[in-house]
Amino acid sequence: MKKIHIVALVAIAAIIAVLISMMGDLSTYETIASARQKQGQPVTVIAKLDRTVPNPIQYDPARNANFTAFYVVDSLGNKAKVEYHFEKPFDMEKSERIVLKGTMKGDIFEITRKDGILIKCPSKYKDDPKAAQNNLSRN
């Protein structure tokens, strides 16, 4: 067997080992209900702000600039309170979708990493024609 073949075999073995271990670390998108079943495990949930709550985002930087609480609802209508231990992300009010990465602790979804939130705004790169049209007819 040639050296190059040995290298190839080693590389393939390494790739398979790495992939298997990485696949194990992948999480899946959960709903709020299924996240509740996985208490304390890192999960990813796609939800949006629960606008039926009068003040869906609570952030009082004068008291604590490192704590934001907000209410979300997922596409199945399940609701949860989220605690995010960082400043309120810019534009959060206008978000139409929020990707949350964290763990469910009881009824509260807790996020302890800064990048545990990804905010999707309707007009991020302004390619949303609906937002533009509203903007046009508003003033």
């Binding site: 050296k3 999480s27 990813t44 400043e87 534009d91 990048d115 990804l118």
Partner: protein
């Protein structure tokens, strides 16, 4: 209906040029194809002549399209949707240009322009390869031209046209029922440029990145030409300067984007393994792998098959990245992907129309591609270079696989996602890639092609090895690198990687003398590798020693098992109050606005506790473009040679949507009168006509009075307030005074009669302006930039040398 005031000519010219560029690129493709396949020399020449002419027309018309768009944007012709949607009147020249590539159409055009330039250079230099190579390039121009066409074929949208009028885009909007719609307020200004793109790096980064994208087609086209014409020798030499150029420019473009992310986007770093970043990185990694196997082939005859494969794949990865970033599929994983534009089928087709013929041709010819039976010696340079290329390629495949999870999910209806530790997910594999690459980079140059004398190899390598051990041990020991968040194993890997990175730097710098006798002209590869080593050192130190300085000592509210992960990263600063920030004091001094009132600047004075050295950071908040209320943060940095201190505003009062609801109360007061407030009382001591103070300089002829009010708080403290009332240009005005400590705003709003003044008082908790600030420290970040520049210099040096050698060969 005849609309008033529209400028239709630029649009008509633009439409014409779009069609012209499509037609001419189709003609160029066909002509060059015929030229490649023609048997008779005369026929070849005439087809090639036609191909050249058509390609030139295409190149010129693409440039003209760009100029017309720029004219529309810079003349603020908001009847055009592109200008209306992507620019506004307040933008300075540089950002007017960036507005062009805010839209997908503009960035496709940029790409096509660079193809035009590259094509013209190829006509002059590619020699007998011109026809097949230009066939591929012209065909790509056809594809790009359809991206900006904007027509419907059997109900299918083909491309999106940058010359559409605003009224054509929003056909049902009621305002377009009026012929004079252009005079309406909403048409007087555009939506503006996305605030995150209003950064000088965004003027220069996209053109460079797209030059990098465009350049990857050249090695691809040469590879296709080699397979097509079954000429496997020759193209690898002539295309070497091109693949080096591509590596250099793509690297520059990517790192300019990193610099932009570092300076503007408040990601808190230059690299976040964001899918948009990853997709261009993998194309670069594969291109660099290709450069190495190409050099191996040119020197030894080994590794031609992988060279073909890498160059085909690198360009295909660029196309794939175009699909990923523009299709909207990355919405849930990337912070800066485009949203979908309804052209997904076309973007997919763009990938497959190159992928299928490219790989099928490769497979069909695979058996015929020459290779050497005899295997490489373990003491040969080519063997270890090939291993290095393989590692680069595998690392790229690993990154792209997990970046593609959204696509995988779409195809297989799964719901996989990278967990919450996105960066570590990639870092823990890439750190081993760094270790292997660092090691290979260090030793490979000391090996000779074919075989190496083991004794001289060891002798030459021993000095750099020892030096590197000393240096990296010193960094490990003195640098206090103790990044243990992910355990001792990862920390150990960081230290090993640090050694190999230093080793790569030192060994390659040493090789310039010991191996090349100091001949810098020939040292392109060594210089490039030194740069790569420095870059790795910079990445390792700056990432593992990144530090949050703005730890909030005022809010020690975080307890519990993961308290160190719970944020304490934002510091609340009240205006004028010196606040403890670890090794520093921080004071929020004042704020100011720019002339368009788009930006608010916050002046923060930072004082080092141990030596009292002061400096001011001025981060700002920029008002978002029309249609998106709110503000975005722009960081400010203080650069030292060995570290950057980086700060941005995470909260300020101006961001607050719910306004101060406290009301002013009117109190008629005469001299000596007392009024109570919740925390004490205030007395009107006297009235001063036409006062001269720090702020005011009234003349005796003016009409102005100032109230002198003393405030006695229940805590026993006494304050002064001096509201002013004056008449200027027959308009009554008054100037409020505030007592922040008591949350009081006091004004003198009117003169009630010759004894009583109207004093207005508001009590509010929101009176004291404050901000939440985040301050980060990146040590030795400059090594990242320095390494990048040195690496690019190395690529360029090699490129220049190789093209000179090519020229000499051609003359000879």
């Amino acid at each position: 209906m005849n609309y008033i005031g529209e400028h239709l000519f630029p649009g008509q010219l633009g439409h014409f040029l779009l069609v012209l560029s499509l037609v001419s690129s189709v003609v160029a493709t066909i002509a060059y194809y015929r030229a490649s396949n023609a048997k008779i020399v005369e026929e070849q020449k005439s087809w090639r002549k036609l191909g050249r002419l058509a390609f030139l027309i295409d190149a010129i018309s693409v440039v003209l399209i760009f100029i017309v768009i720029y004219f529309i944007i810079s003349s603020h012709l908001f009847e055009y949707h592109y200008a209306w949607n992507h620019s506004d009147k307040s933008l300075p020249l540089g950002y007017l240009i960036s507005s062009i590539w805010e839209g997908q159409e503009g960035s496709f055009l940029l790409w096509a322009i660079w193809h035009g330039v590259i094509g013209i250079v190829l006509m002059k230099t590619a020699g007998k390869w011109e026809s097949p190579v230009m066939t591929v390039l012209s065909f790509c121009q056809v594809c790009l031209a359809t991206m900006v066409l904007g027509i419907y074929v059997f109900g299918l949208k083909v491309g999106s046209n940058p010359f559409l009028l605003t009224r054509e885009v929003f056909q049902d909007a009621p305002i377009f029922k009026r012929p004079d719609y252009l005079s309406l307020a909403s048409m007087q200004d555009g939506n503006g440029l996305n605030q995150t793109l209003q950064n000088y790096w965004m003027v220069i980064h996209p053109p460079i990145l797209f030059l990098g994208f465009a350049s990857t087609i050249v090695p691809f086209a040469f590879a296709i030409a080699g397979l097509w014409k079954k000429e496997h020798y020759g193209w690898t030499k002539i295309s070497l300067p091109w693949s080096l150029f591509s590596s250099a420019i793509l690297c520059l473009g990517i790192m300019m984007g990193a610099r932009w992310a570092y300076e503007s986007l408040s990601f808190g770093g230059y690299w976040a393994w964001d899918p948009v970043e990853n997709t261009s990185l993998v194309a670069w990694l594969v291109m660099v792998a290709g450069v190495h196997t190409q050099v191996i082939y040119n020197s030894t005859g080994h590794s031609l098959r992988p060279t073909y494969f890498f160059f085909l794949t690198s360009f295909l990865l660029i196309l794939y990245s175009t699909y990923l970033t523009r299709s909207g599929d990355l919405q849930d994983t990337s912070v800066h992907a485009f949203t979908g534009s309804g052209l997904n089928w076309q973007l997919r087709a763009f990938v497959f129309v190159f992928l299928l013929p490219g790989y099928l041709l490769y497979l069909a010819r695979y058996k015929k591609i020459p290779y050497i039976q005899k295997e490489e010696s373990s003491y040969s340079r080519e063997f270890w270079m090939f291993i290095g290329s393989l590692v680069l390629f595998l690392s790229a495949m690993f990154i792209i696989l997990f970046t593609s999870l959204p696509v995988v999910n779409k195809i297989f209806k799964t719901t996989f996602t990278v967990g919450s530790e996105v960066e570590f997910f990639y870092n823990r594999i890439q750190i081993f890639v760094a270790i292997v690459l660092g090691l290979l980079t260090a030793i490979s140059q000391y090996l000779r092609y074919k075989d190496t004398n083991k004794k001289t190899f060891a002798k030459k390598l021993i000095v750099p090895t020892l030096i590197s051990l000393v240096i990296s041990a010193a960094i490990s020991y003195l640098g206090g690198i103790n990044y243990d968040r992910f355990g001792i194993g990862f920390l150990a890997a960081i230290h090993i990687a640090l050694f190999t990175a230093v080793y790569a730097t030192v060994a390659n710098a040493g090789y310039i003398w010991s191996g090349l006798g100091g001949r810098l002209k020939a040292a392109g590869a060594s210089v490039g590798h030194v740069g790569f080593g420095i870059f790795l050192v910079g990445v390792l130190i700056s990432s593992s020693k990144e530090e949050v300085l703005s730890v909030n000592f005022l809010n020690p509210l975080n307890f519990g098992p993961d308290s160190d992960q719970k944020g304490t990263e934002n510091l609340t600063l009240f205006k004028g109050v010196r606040t403890d920030m670890g090794k520093y004091w921080a004071t929020y001094k004042k704020d100011s606005a720019d002339k368009f009132d788009k930006k608010t600047y916050f002046h923060i004075e930072i004082e080092k506790k141990d030596n009292n050295k002061k400096f001011t950071l001025v981060p700002d908040l920029i008002r978002n473009t029309k249609g998106q209320e709110g503000l975005s943060a722009n960081p400010a940095a203080k650069h030292y040679w060995n570290r950057d201190i980086f700060s941005y505003i995470t909260y300020a009062e101006v961001m607050n949507a719910d306004k101060d609801t406290a009301q002013f109360k009117l109190h008629p007061m005469a001299n000596g009168d007392t009024v109570y407030y919740s925390n004490g009382l205030m007395v009107l001591e006297k009235v001063i006509p036409n006062p001269v103070t720090e702020e005011f300089d009234f003349k005796p002829t003016d009409t102005a009075i100032m109230a002198d009010i003393s405030i006695h708080s229940s805590s026993g403290r006494t304050f002064k307030a001096n509201p002013v009332f004056y008449v200027k240009n027959n308009v009554v005005q008054y100037h409020m005074d505030t007592v922040f400590a008591e949350g009081l705003a006091i004004g003198l709003s009117q003169v009630i009669d010759n004894k009583h003044l109207g004093i207005i008082v508001k009590e509010s908790s929101q009176l004291t302006p404050f901000i939440a600030l985040k301050v980060l420290q990146f040590p030795f970040i400059n090594l990242v930039w320095l390494g990048t520049i040195v690496m690019i210099t190395g690529f360029i040096m090699s490129m220049v040398r190789r093209s000179k050698l090519m020229k000499r060969e051609r003359v000879a």
